[in-house]
């Protein structure tokens, strides 16, 4: 009887471990989206400040500034501030490069891959001043009629300044 109970306990423990492991290994999904999905953020009328950053796994200055967006998302938790990371990687690289990157860096912000290869058709919709170089970031809050577009890397200090001065948020 006794060894059997130990066996049972072991099996129980083992199954818990397995369940725990599978939870740990759960990966953040990265959706493959079309333009209307991005436009939901661009045209949203809710009083939320969206920080929409265009990046790619192959873009060195983009990757270097990603921690700033992650940090600001954490600082403004509970505030109507949402970071949206829009990957410019190719759709075919979603599972091979983008998902592993997002999980390796444990990105917490909203991430999706915009699969719209004809970039000339939508770049102006994000901002007419955008030439197409990345990194590029749009701050938009339509309810407050505020927007700010930057075609260059951003520091955490700059992110905070824009959020507090232009969009009147406090962390």
């Amino acid at each position: 009887m006794f060894p059997r109970r130990i066996l049972f306990t072991c099996a129980l423990l083992f199954s818990f471990l397995l369940a725990g492991n599978s939870l740990m290994a759960q990966t953040q999904k990265v959706a493959l989206v079309k333009l209307p999905h991005l436009q939901k953020y661009l045209n949203s009328t809710s009083d939320t400040t969206y920080i929409i950053n265009f990046w790619a796994t192959w873009c060195k200055p983009c990757i270097e500034e990603l921690p700033n967006f992650e940090a600001v998302q954490k600082q403004y938790a509970g505030q109507p501030v949402q970071v949206v990371l829009v990957s410019m990687d190719f759709a075919k690289d979603l599972d091979k490069k983008v998902v592993p990157f997002v999980n390796r860096h444990k990105l917490q912000s909203t991430v999706f891959l915009l699969d719209e290869p004809d970039q000339n058709a939508w770049i102006d919709l994000v901002d007419p001043s955008w030439s197409g170089a990345i990194p590029a970031t749009l701050f938009v809050n339509n309810a407050r009629k505020q927007r700010l577009f930057l075609e260059k890397p951003i520091t955490l200090a700059q992110l905070n300044t824009y959020l507090t001065s232009t969009f009147s948020h406090t962390p």
Partner: protein, 208 residues
């Protein structure tokens, strides 16, 4: 002992500040503007200027580099463009404007290697001071400026992307540069004079 330490701290803060100050091109050429000549070093060591090439009807000036995945995806298409249009009077002039400190693999030596590995049939010039990229208003790689001769001048006829699908040459629908060239070669107005595309930001030198 304390004072110099603070001074050093202040200095390093300013240095960091400077390092983060990317300077994108302001202004630059618009379609219809006259492009001025330049003299830049080719990968074979020779200085190249547009004025030297008197037989050319114009140029496919392309800001590109060794490192940007988008630029690399277009290398074969640039070679094809040159093969198709150089004999018709429009050669490709590739220019690398990236700062070597910010992007070490965009050095002149790496350019030479890339040009020889890919057997570039066109010149590949080094814009070491980044002056030409700034004058043109280039922001990314690849970034095309199609120039066409008008009397003594070279006029900007098209600015933008090569085509509408960087990732997959098989799925290209619109060949912007080819369409523009075909119109120029038959004396017609270019139907679409500017396009935008995702590309790698030019790696500007600090405080330049």
């Amino acid at each position: 002992m304390k004072k110099p330490y603070y001074l050093f701290l202040l200095l390093s803060v300013f240095t960091l500040w400077g390092a983060s100050a990317y300077k994108p091109a302001e202004g630059g050429y618009q379609v219809g503007d006259t492009a001025t000549d330049f003299k830049l070093k080719n990968v074979n060591g020779q200085l190249v200027s547009l004025r030297d090439q008197k037989e050319a009807k114009g140029f496919i000036v392309t800001f590109t580099c060794n490192t940007c995945p988008y630029a690399k995806l277009y290398e074969d298409r640039l070679i094809q463009l040159h093969q198709k249009y150089a004999s018709k009077g429009y050669p490709v002039i590739a220019i690398n404007p990236n700062d070597v400190t910010a992007s070490p693999e965009d050095s002149y030596a790496h350019m030479q290697k890339r040009a020889s590995d890919k057997k570039f049939p066109f010149v590949y010039l080094y814009d070491e001071t980044q002056e030409i990229a700034k004058r043109y208003g280039a922001t990314r790689t690849p970034h095309i400026y199609l120039l066409t001769r008008s009397g003594q001048d070279l006029k900007v006829a098209y600015i933008g992307a090569i085509d509408d699908n960087s990732g997959d040459p098989e799925k290209v629908q619109k060949r912007y540069v080819e369409t523009a060239l075909d119109h120029l070669l038959t004396g017609k107005a270019v139907p679409q004079t500017s396009t935008k595309a995702i590309g790698c930001t030019i790696k500007w030198r600090n405080n330049s």
